[in-house]
């Protein structure tokens, strides 16, 4: 199945996103969407994979909850529609270069240390890299401030893992909406 056009339209079912594949609207989980060959709109495939791997290491479950699909979608929409938390953190839009340079630096450091991209690191090596990034100790880092990048990715991952209706269910917190989100994220 090949994607001709992709839209995230309406997460009617909890955790599902709507895509248009081969002309038909289908509801898929972010993982199924990737397996079905849905391409990211802004991020490159390897960037999306790095983001999903990094997000999942920091916030387990966030890959399945769609952290990379979420960020990619938010980077594709206008600033008026953007929901990324980064807008609160003193970074001027557009935000793509922030993510792109951070993800590329994560992979460069992973390759320099272990000869592999981040997504293929062992648990221990990935955790050591993240710990150094969070505490701004990575040498040869060329992206945005490391601590800020860590904070941003962690928040994006928490947004999809814990900030949606499904996320509240996970934590047993009543959602008690005045107005239910028409979709999880735009």
């Amino acid at each position: 199945m090949k994607a001709t056009r992709r839209e995230i339209l309406y997460a009617g079912g909890i955790g599902l996103l709507s895509f248009t594949l081969g002309g038909a609207k289908v509801e898929l989980s972010p993982r199924d969407a990737r397996e079905a060959g849905v391409k990211p709109r802004v991020l490159l495939s390897n960037e999306e994979e790095t983001l999903a791997a990094l997000g999942d290491r920091i916030v387990p479950g966030s890959r399945e909850s769609g952290v990379s699909v979420y960020v990619d979608h938010q980077l594709a929409v206008s600033f008026e529609e953007c929901m990324l938390m980064i807008q609160y953190l003193g970074v001027a839009p557009p935000f793509t270069s922030f993510y792109r340079s951070g993800l590329s630096s994560v992979n460069s450091v992973a390759r320099a240390r272990h000869g592999q991209p981040f997504a293929e690191l062992t648990d221990a090596n990935a955790e050591a890299l993240i710990e150094d990034m969070a505490s701004e100790k990575l040498e040869d880092w060329e992206g945005p401030p490391q601590g800020l990048f860590y904070f941003v990715i962690r928040n994006d991952a928490c947004d999809v893992q814990y900030g949606t209706q499904e996320g509240f269910v996970r934590l047993n917190v009543p959602y008690a909406a005045h107005i239910l989100p028409p979709s999880e994220w735009g």
Binding site: R57, I58, V59, P60, G61, F79, E80, E81, C82, M83, L84, M85, Q87, Y88, G90, A92, P93, E127, I130, A134, Y150, F151, R154, N155, C158, D159, Y162, G163, T164, G167, F168, L171, N172, V173, P174, Y175, A176, A177, H178, I179, L180, P181, P182, E184, W185, G186
Partner: protein
């Protein structure tokens, strides 16, 4: 709604807390009022209960460039579109205290206001009736003189009671948090249902803001509202001593002049200064209203002191209003109490805020160091056992903390605002005092784990301060610009000092006093 072609009595720039207040009062007094709003119309259905969707309500206008070690956090702290930041504010509405208005005379630091608490008191009393504030005036033993609140206090629950005990065991009091939130049907508005979605906008009208209180009155009285209309400069008559109207850019990019007998500038703190600086002319070469050279100066921003803890008892921290349940202003009137620690100023505690799992002020970002499997455990425990409170710490006014115009311009050629902000050593020391006290209170409350988040900016004030005359300030006690008296300013940009309380009640009280002059 088409823009007015004829001259109107008053043109108001900005449709938020201050602009809507002016619009309601002036149109009810029979004046022809047109309100210009840079952002879009915001409909109730856009107030979607989600910390992700909430981010669509924040500032989406021209970027504000921030410099200095304590940047003001403009995007988080500002609003965009009809209702401005008022539609997603948390409605904590305490009064400023008597000593906040006389900081220079009493302590030899900071600035004085050209008015006293006694001057503003009748307007606080009037506004609390108009907007509806809930609270318990007697329990607020620190509260300056004033009428009791028109509604009983906001709901309290486990979280509030647990933290309250912490204060009490250290010999301190708590009182219900004064909030512009209905606790019973009030003026046609329903009572709050304590779901904690205030940051995403309160679509029921329980929370007092421009959309629930002032816009219905203004529109009923004939005011016209023009969204997607950005004011780029204030125009003056040939001698430069009177405002004649404003120049706007419409959504289609057309430049239009709207003429008026009076102009009210209520575009929020930083944009008020930006517009005046961008309105320079041969009579006002350094910006309109800048004879004193203070235009743009004395920007202040409260230092937030967020304290967190985990308590063995169930606290259900998601319950309540986002702003909190209780208040403590124990040391508020003793600005020099902690001078031994190099601190100066006042602070208050907003206690037991409703927290969501995510969002800048949510559970997850409070401990950025936790990740992996430990994060899941932390989230699960916190959503049942967290306790929170936030200190609002005074920021001493400093001339160098200022708005200037950048070389960079927005899409319409208006220079962007640059805001420099560095807190004084005394304010930073006071933040530390507050944090230490907050951690002590949480330990005394029985929390088994306590921590604080780093300092963060909260509310933005100053930049077009009021004062005695054209030599020391931009505007007079009524917000009228000294050199251009039919140009009136609304909002916290008028505040010479920040105090240690949230600003919006005072913004309304000042607007109410100004409206008495204009009607």
């Amino acid at each position: 709604m088409t823009l007015p072609r004829e001259k109107v009595d008053v043109v108001i720039v900005g449709s938020g807390a201050a602009g809507a207040h002016f619009a309601a009062r002036l149109s009810q007094a029979g004046q022809r009022v047109a309100v210009l709003e840079a952002g879009p119309e915001i409909k109730t259905e856009q107030m979607v209960s989600s910390m992700l969707w909430a981010r669509r309500l924040k500032w989406k206008g021209a970027p504000v460039l921030e410099t200095g070690p304590e940047p003001v956090g403009y995007v988080f702290n500002a609003g965009w579109g009809v209702g401005g930041a008022s539609i997603h504010h948390y409605a904590v509405w305490p009064r400023m205290h008597e000593n906040d208005f006389r900081v220079r005379s009493l302590y030899g630091r900071g600035l004085d206001w050209p008015i006293s608490y006694a001057d503003l008191r009748p307007y606080y009393d009037r506004v609390q009736k108009e907007c509806g504030i809930s609270g318990d005036a007697k329990a607020e033993v620190w509260r300056p003189a004033g009428e009791p609140y028109p509604m009983g206090p906001v709901a309290s629950a486990n979280q509030g009671r647990i933290v309250g005990k912490g204060f009490e065991s250290l010999g301190m009091k708590v009182a219900p948090l004064p909030m512009a939130i209905a606790t019973r049907t009030y003026d046609g508005r329903p009572s709050c249902i304590w779901d904690g979605w205030c940051d995403a906008g309160c679509p029921t009208g329980a929370l007092s803001n421009a959309l629930s209180v002032h816009w219905p009155k203004a529109l009923a009285a004939g005011a016209t509202l023009h969204p997607n209309t950005q004011v780029v400069r204030v125009l003056t008559e040939s001698k430069g001593t009177r405002a004649s109207g404003v120049e706007v850019v419409t959504a289609k990019g057309e430049r239009v002049r709207i003429m008026a007998d009076a102009v009210v500038l209520a575009a929020n703190t930083i944009q008020n200064a930006r517009i005046l600086l961008a309105s320079e002319s041969s009579h006002h070469p350094h910006g309109l209203g800048n004879a004193s050279g203070t235009l743009g100066q004395f920007v202040t921003s409260h230092l937030a002191a967020p304290i967190f803890g985990l308590h063995p008892d169930k606290t259900n921290p998601w319950f309540g209003a986002f702003g909190g349940q209780f208040l403590n202003q124990e040391h508020y009137d003793q600005k020099e109490k902690f001078s031994g620690q190099g601190a100066f100023g006042s602070y208050q505690w907003m206690i037991a805020q409703a927290v969501k799992p995510n969002g800048l002020l949510g559970i997850a970002p409070s401990r950025p160091d936790i990740r992996g499997a430990a994060l899941k455990r932390f989230m699960e425990r916190s959503t049942e056992h967290m306790i929170t409170m936030t200190g609002v710490v005074e920021d001493l006014p400093i001339a160098e903390n200022r708005v200037t115009l950048s070389q960079q311009k927005d899409a319409w050629g208006v220079p962007l605002a640059t805001v420099q902000h560095a807190s004084s050593p005394e304010s930073l020391a006071l933040w530390k005092v507050a944090v230490d006290e907050g951690l002590r209170v949480f330990r005394a409350a029985g929390a088994d784990d306590v921590w604080n988040a780093p300092k963060a900016p909260m509310h933005i004030m100053g930049g077009t301060i009021m004062g005695k005359g054209a030599g020391d300030s931009v505007a007079n006690r009524y917000g009228a610009v000294h050199e251009v008296p039919n140009l009136v300013l609304g909002g916290a940009s008028l505040f010479p000092t920040s105090g240690g309380v949230n600003p919006t009640f005072t913004i309304h009280a000042l607007a109410s006093m100004a409206c008495d002059q204009l009607t």
